[in-house]
């Protein structure tokens, strides 16, 4: 079973890979809209990647109002 820290790190690694930003340039508290310059649609795309990686189903509403990686990771963690 992953810890929340591990899940958060995997989310950050995946996001940096998916959106082509240098590994290590993202932090858990970062606002992903701002840091990655993405819109809500691209966030949904990122969600699909995360689902495949973690092998879970993450309903769209789980990201409603979420804008930082740490909270996103905790939503994933609760479904692992």
């Amino acid at each position: 079973m992953r810890t929340l820290e591990q899940t958060t790190q995997e989310v950050l690694d995946l996001a940096s890979k998916h959106f082509n930003v240098p590994a290590g340039s993202l932090a858990p508290e970062d606002d992903f809209f701002k840091k990655l310059g993405i819109d809500s649609l691209q966030t949904l795309e990122m969600l699909s990647r995360l689902e495949n990686h973690f092998g879970i189903e993450l309903p769209d509403y789980e990201v409603q109002g979420v804008s930082d990686f740490r909270t996103l990771a905790s939503r994933i963690q609760s479904r692992l």
Binding site: L41, S48, S67
Partner: protein
């Protein structure tokens, strides 16, 4: 042309349609690969009537208000119909607002019954704002897990009365819906839309974009939005068409839905349309050189043959590889909520996919003008719909002035805001606050806004005063938020941004620490509500006797600054 003249209300017209199209499919709900639900009109009625009866048993009477905060799904429409059947006033709220914003609107609207989904209720019930909205006495929650603590709410699925509900008639001038066009700040703008507004708009829109049994509309825009309410509920239901809901809006499932359900119409906001364009363009660019040349030649042929009007059959044959992924039945993409760039519209039209761009406001009952595609024009927002009188007020030498509208689709006013209503509807004419002019062919062209607000590409109306609370107690002398284009008019409807005007304390400088403080507060706002930059102003803000900032006067002073140097990006 559809004749709804014999009907007095949304409820009465839908009641007849449910009987008339009894065996036709009205709703399909899909969740990823799974089809969760497929309802015929008779099934829809069987689901809605027990809910209407239970509402009546709970004391819900004519004129009572019921709010829906849900994502697009069948229970949204079933609940709405039950409310209309029971003579209620529907308050459709945006599920993307924060819980406290939602409570504020629930209070403002005087909602008696709230209908929502469990994940939304989980957040709503824990929010501080709940204590303020004690008027929402009955809360119905859909899809709650068995073990869930509902915090005083009831399960939607179990809230059923026995026996037939009594149909409660309403008249055309009665309020049917209170639709918040924006404003969760100090002054929520609740548009009171009458039954007549919807009946008339439905007739006008279906005269250009007809619905009938067999037509399938893909409902992606939130149904609380005026456009989806009309073309994703009322319009198709009145005509016996079907509405397809997706429980997830991931691009891959949306793409799949087009071919799986042979979609006829879809409404999108410009942001999604542009995204679709990007995806298609990438696909075309990746074609091997030879194939790309053939493809480009076919696009050129299609363009030439559809110059005067769309020829769907021909375009589908010529550009099969483009049309097949869309299911092969797509007639029109309806785009709304914000301004769409002409090159995006042209891109799709060249491929034989007409995009119905238009112009509208919630206050005007959805659409004022639409492009009738005869011929297609990417540079305008089309001609006024039947029944719409549109005029340009105080035009300048180049013919540009404020667009105003008079029609039976104009709202009756803003809830609890008689002064604001009087400023907005003058002698029966709705002052839109948008700048435009008519060209010689009678097409409306838009040139920016007269009012201090922005509309994002996602179709969100943002008023500066609604987001100022986040910057309260900022360590500066005073601050005020503006739409940048309001201060420095650009004659453009795209790329609108908000700015924070700052007056620093004597001797204070704009430090990195202050910038970080602003940035941190900014990130608390939903992404589409954020400011993009700061403007420093070194004089006291003009204020009224009661010390309120005179926004217009301040804007005039700020306008004297050079935008290029004064606007400091955050």
């Amino acid at each position: 042309m559809l004749d709804l003249s014999k009907y007095q209300s949304i409820g009465a017209s839908l009641k007849d349609a449910l009987g008339k199209f009894s065996g036709e499919v009205c709703l399909i709900e899909s969740d990823r690969e799974r089809e969760k639900e497929r309802l015929a009109y008779r099934d829809f009625k069987e689901r809605a009537h027990p809910l209407a009866k239970a509402l009546q048993d709970a004391g819900f009477v004519a004129g009572d208000r019921a709010s829906i905060i849900m994502t697009n799904q069948s229970k949204w429409l079933i609940s709405a119909y039950a409310v209309f059947y029971a003579g209620g006033v529907l308050v459709p709220l945006d599920y993307k607002l924060t819980p406290d914003e939602q409570w504020q609107l629930l209070k403002h609207s005087g909602t008696k019954v709230l209908i929502t989904e469990y994940p939304i209720w989980r957040q709503l019930s824990a929010a501080e704002g709940r204590s303020a909205a004690t008027n929402a006495r009955t809360v119905l929650v859909t899809e709650a897990p068995h073990s869930a603590d509902l915090g005083g709410a009831q399960r939607w699925e179990e809230f059923q009365g026995s026996g037939e509900p009594a149909f409660v008639p309403r008249i055309r001038k009665d309020v049917a819906c209170i639709v918040y066009s924006s404003g969760t700040g100090g002054r929520p703008k609740g548009c009171m839309m009458t039954h007549e507004n919807y009946l008339e708009q439905c007739v006008a829109l279906t005269s250009i974009y007809p619905f009938a049994p067999g037509v399938r509309y893909l409902s992606i825009l939130p149904t609380n939005h005026a456009i989806d309410f009309m073309v994703g509920f009322f319009g198709p239901f009145i005509c016996g068409a079907a509405v397809v809901h997706l429980r997830t809006l991931r691009p891959e499932y949306v793409r799949e839905a087009f071919s799986k359900y042979k979609i006829t119409y879809v409404s999108l906001v410009p942001l999604v349309l542009k995204n679709l364009q990007k995806g298609l363009q990438t696909r075309f660019d990746e074609l091997p050189s030879g194939k790309r040349k053939v493809f480009n030649a076919m696009v050129a042929v299609n363009k030439a043959l559809t110059k005067s009007r769309p020829r769907l059959g021909l375009s589908r044959r010529l550009l099969k590889q483009v049309h097949e992924p869309f299911g092969g039945e797509l007639r029109t993409i309806i785009v709304g909520g914000a301004f769409t760039e002409p090159q995006t519209l042209q891109f799709f039209y060249n491929l034989g996919i007409p995009v119905a761009n238009g112009y509208g406001l919630t206050e005007a009952g959805t659409a004022i003008t639409v492009n009738d595609l005869k011929p297609f024009r990417a540079d305008t927002v089309g001609k006024p719909l039947p029944g719409m009188e549109v005029r340009i007020v105080s035009p300048s030498a180049d013919g540009i002035g404020e667009v105003s509208v008079r029609s039976k689709t104009i709202m009756s006013g803003y809830l609890n805001e008689p002064e604001l209503t009087a400023e907005t509807i003058v002698d029966g004419w709705l002052m839109t606050g948008d700048l435009g002019r008519f060209d010689p062919e009678g097409h409306l062209q838009l040139f920016g806004r007269k009012k201090n607000m922005i509309v994002t590409e996602e179709g969100k109306n943002i008023y500066p005063e609604d987001i100022e609370a986040v910057f309260e107690s900022l360590p500066v002398k005073e601050f005020c938020i503006f739409a940048a284009n309001y201060i420095w008019p650009q004659r453009s409807m795209v790329g609108e941004q908000l700015l924070l005007a700052l007056h620093l304390e004597p001797g204070q400088t704009y430090t990195e620490e202050l910038r970080r403080d602003i940035s941190a507060r900014n990130s608390k706002l939903l992404n589409y509500k954020r400011i993009h930059g700061v403007v420093l102003f070194d004089e006291d803000f003009p204020r009224t006797a009661s010390l309120k900032i005179k926004r217009n006067a301040l804007a005039e002073q700020l306008a004297k600054l050079d935008r290029a140097t004064a606007f400091l990006p955050l």
